[in-house]
């Protein structure tokens, strides 16, 4: 019974999709020979989601060092994506799990990374490594030893279908 229900829905959707494709082809053909614009509507892509990647981090930061950072990305789409950049949010402030003393002087800075090629499969959640993106200065407070730092970032991705 369940199979039948899914089949009907799929059939209806397929019919609608076929109509969109056919319409798109028709308009394209028209615009090729005319002077207007052609339009086609692509399926809507769902936004990626980011979640806590702290468990995957390794304790590498110390005053005067640089370190990788981790970003845990979920791709809800039915196609793979490729993360191409991870950049610090405007006015983004790095915080820690060590409280006020460390937060007042984490010493941590983030370097925007572009030109990345970090793949996330369709419907998958992947923890990505962004190389050498964090640095710690000598200003880091003593309370920051062993801290986990949360860095507010923007992640940009493009589709990565074959």
């Amino acid at each position: 019974m369940l199979t039948i229900t899914i089949s009907r829905k799929a059939f209806v959707f397929a019919a609608a999709a076929a109509a969109v494709v056919a319409t798109g082809v028709g308009i394209a053909a028209w615009s090729t020979s005319g002077s207007g614009n052609g339009y086609a509507k692509a399926a809507t892509a769902s936004a990626l989601t980011l979640s806590d990647a702290s468990a995957s981090t390794s304790a590498d930061l110390y005053p005067g060092s640089t370190s990788d950072v981790k970003v845990k990305v979920t791709n809800p789409n039915q196609f793979p994506v490729k993360v191409t950049s991870v950049t610090l949010q405007a006015a983004g402030v790095v915080t820690s799990d060590k409280g006020a003393a460390c937060n007042a002087a984490t010493g941590v800075t983030f370097t925007d990374k572009t030109g990345l090629s970090l793949s996330v499969a369709a419907g998958a959640t992947s923890t990505l490594t962004v190389p050498a993106a964090a640095a710690m200065s000598n200003a880091s407070d003593n309370a920051c030893q062993g801290a986990i730092f949360s860095i507010p970032v923007n992640v940009t991705a493009i589709s990565d279908a074959a």
Binding site: L61, P63, K70, V108
Partner: protein, 138 residues
């Protein structure tokens, strides 16, 4: 039933094509969230050795401490304690401040019985102070 299954297969194929078509477009999405990094920490200082060399001079030596990720530390703080009372006293000039080497020599130390410790550091970070050295008596 067979016809329905055939319809289902066709439908899924069409859907797959549509998804592929949309994926091949230059779809871009920006998402805000957190990236994460973690700090290491400074290990404990290694118990030093204190040796009377000449007169009232004490040479203090120790082996290197590290951060918990294995990286080297930036230097050491040396402290001296009265072995009888446990009271800390001011270290003399040649061993005060951050000592980058693994030895230093205190000169003209007051008579008494003394124990010394080292604390590794990196910038503002401080490790755990070492255990006290065996006493040296002047």
């Amino acid at each position: 039933m067979a016809a329905r299954n055939t319809s289902s297969a066709v439908a899924l194929a069409v859907v797959a094509l549509l998804v592929t078509a949309s994926a091949q477009a230059a779809w871009t999405a920006a998402r805000t969230g957190g990236a994460y990094g973690r700090a290491t920490s400074v290990g404990q200082g290694v118990t030093p050795t204190a040796t009377k060399i000449t007169g009232r001079d004490i040479r203090v030596t120790w082996t290197a401490a590290t951060l918990t990720n294995g990286a080297g530390v930036g230097g050491y703080l040396v402290r001296r304690y009265n072995a009888l009372t446990g009271t800390e006293v001011a270290i003399t000039a040649s061993c005060s401040g951050t000592i980058a080497a693994l030895t230093c020599t205190e000169s003209n130390v007051a008579k008494g019985s003394w124990q010394l410790t080292v604390t590794p550091l990196v910038a503002n970070w401080r490790g755990t102070e070492s255990l006290k050295s065996p006493a040296v008596t002047l």
